[in-house]
């Protein structure tokens, strides 16, 4: 079922949780809503489910506006962050619940058959008589998923599906969920604050910040062509350096060398360069002089911190251990650094990251406030 979201606004006690959100989702897509806490991603998911109602705007399921329909008429499968399994029911009863409460309830035999199919699909056959408290986190997650799939939902919604699991289980489930999606073909939307999770799992990533969508694109687009400074900063680390563009020529502050710029920007700019898009060049080549302050070797990566000679700005580089110019650098060495690719944005009054300060991209979800 394709979904269109048109001009959704939602305010919680003077706090704009969603501020004019537009989004088109194709049938069968796997979409990630990615953003820091307070970005509105969970609110958007709950609004699509019907657990919250928008103040303004339309949500179309297959062309039909359902923005004011109650949740139970929407036919959405929702997997809660902490699964919300019914503790007093067995696994089989949990999965059968959506069929049991139906007005046109299928026969007992049909329900049992469907439950067994779903148990097989989520690889929990034989655990049907267990209670949720007798399952591990990953197993509970699968039961929650099977329960949501039992009603043959128009769309499957998952709120931080891996947030409450430990790292190993998280990786397994991620791969498994992708396989399950390819097998079943449900239109799926999941919320995450983990950029790695979003980039690895989703067909398209919707990056959100402060109730707005910053960028929608496949994982390559959002990582390699970030549309806004926020996306640049939120997806991976970045060096932000001051510069100026004149006549399609970019000049770093304090340097005489120029780079071609395809950007339409003119005037003062912030230059966004990822650490692995910086390289060390010959002392004659165009570049910026810097002094190495720290060298860390992490497997095949060499991480170098350096201070720019001109502005004293600190920069980070990530280089391959095969890079001859990078090898055997010591703190105190003079190097010359040049960007391979970069992004240009008009200079912001505060150039430091737009990410909320309390967000650490890979911290466990429990430590953060939920974006409601």
């Amino acid at each position: 079922m394709n979904i269109q979201i048109r001009g959704i606004h939602k305010v919680f006690a003077n706090f704009p949780a969603l501020d004019g959100v537009n989004l088109d989702i194709e049938s069968g897509e796997l979409i990630a809503l990615l953003g820091p806490s307070g970005s509105g991603k969970t609110t958007l998911l709950r609004t699509i489910a019907g657990l919250e109602f928008p103040d303004e705007g339309a949500i179309l399921f297959g062309g039909e506006d359902i923005a004011n329909r109650p949740v139970r008429e929407r036919g959405v499968g929702f997997v809660f962050q902490h699964y919300a399994l019914f503790k007093h029911m067995t696994v089989a009863e949990n999965i059968a619940f959506g069929l049991d409460v139906r007005k046109d309830r299928p026969s007992k035999e049909a329900i049992r058959k469907r439950v067994n199919e779903l148990l097989e699909l989520v690889q929990l056959s034989g655990l049907d008589k267990r209670y949720p408290t007798q399952l591990s986190g990953g197993q509970r997650q699968r039961v929650a998923l099977a329960r949501a799939l039992a009603i043959e939902p128009k769309v499957l919604l998952l709120d931080e599906p891996f947030g409450a699991l430990d790292a190993k289980v998280r990786k397994d489930l991620r791969r498994w969920l992708r396989e399950l999606h390819d097998k079943t073909g449900y239109t799926t939307i999941f919320v995450t604050h983990d950029q790695e999770e979003a980039l690895e799992l989703a067909d398209r990533v919707v990056v959100m910040n402060r109730g707005r969508i910053e960028q929608v694109g496949n994982n390559q687009q959002v990582y390699e062509q970030p549309a806004t400074p926020f996306v640049f900063d939120f997806l991976g680390s970045v060096n932000i350096l001051p510069g100026e563009v004149k006549n399609r020529e970019l000049r770093f502050d304090g340097s005489d060398d120029v780079w071609d710029s395809e950007s339409q920007e003119t005037g003062l700019v912030d230059i966004y360069v990822r650490p692995h898009d910086l390289q060390i060049v010959d002392s004659q080549a165009p570049g910026l002089d810097a002094t190495v302050t720290l060298v860390q070797r992490a497997g095949a990566l060499i991480r170098i911190s350096a201070t720019l000679a001109t502005s004293g700005e600190r920069i980070e580089l990530e280089l391959s251990h095969l890079d001859t110019l990078a090898r055997s650098r010591q703190p105190g060495d003079a190097i010359r650094v040049a960007p391979i690719t970069f992004g240009l944005f008009p200079r912001a009054p505060h150039r430091r990251p737009t990410t909320l300060p309390d967000v650490v991209p890979n911290a466990p979800a429990e430590n953060r406030e939920r974006a409601r």
Partner: protein
Amino acid sequence: MTADASLQDPPALPPQFRPEGPLVHRNAAISEPAWVQRILITLALLFLLGFLLLPLISVFAEALRNGWVTYKDALVEPDAIAAIKLTLLVAALAVPLNLVFGVAAAWAITKFEFRGKSVLISLIDLPFSVSPVVAGVIYIMIFGRHGWAGPWLDENDIKIVFAVPGIVLATVFVTFPFVARELIPLMHEQGTDNEQAALTLGASGWKTFWHVTLPSIKWALLYGVLLCSARAMGEFGAVSVVSGHIRGQTNTMPLHVEILYNEYQFAGAFAVASILALFALVTLALKSYLEWRHGDELAATRRH
């Protein structure tokens, strides 16, 4: 797929958390010498014995002092039987009413957001903070002959004060918080995720309540009902004001005990008192059984 960590069973509980764990845990934080510990424990036990156990035993001892026959006679006396019947009737009316009110109040408070919620919570606690006598006087003021509704009630020949309806009303008022207070912390902790999950699965509000909410609170609910009925049977203050002490008609067991005692009929007073105490003990035993049987579910609730 056997290597898939998410499919493995959760690890077993460490020994000290298993149900068959040791009776007494040695606590490293206790550093007092053994004799101090023993003296404190002895003092606590003596206090419990003197102030709780001895009075209870003496009630039964006094009741049976003149033998079984006197005891039986005191209980089969018509006024005593009427008092026992009335007490059970009042409890049988007040407890179901408070069961419904309590569940409804706890449901509203824990599952919905609305203005004036804190006022409602304070209102529920009001019967705990107001003296029962005051509660009784309030009902006299409203329904009594010279009260606000008195003349109208007189005209229509409805008796509330000095009759069974008044006693039930006063009992409902005094015992109102028990069920709600037992449920609110538990339901608050459970949150609304389960209900929301049921709604997304297509259940109606009513079905959600019966199939999801009620089963998850049933033991706390039963516990609240037990406390509520214990109090309903034992209530004295509020009932004393509204009952009018008409023997054989509006005397509940606590009132009957007081009247007999004031008339120096000690054997009778203690006999009825022993039945009242017996009701309390049965309630207590039921409560302990439930706690033992369903301790986990009750752990989340506050104790009174």
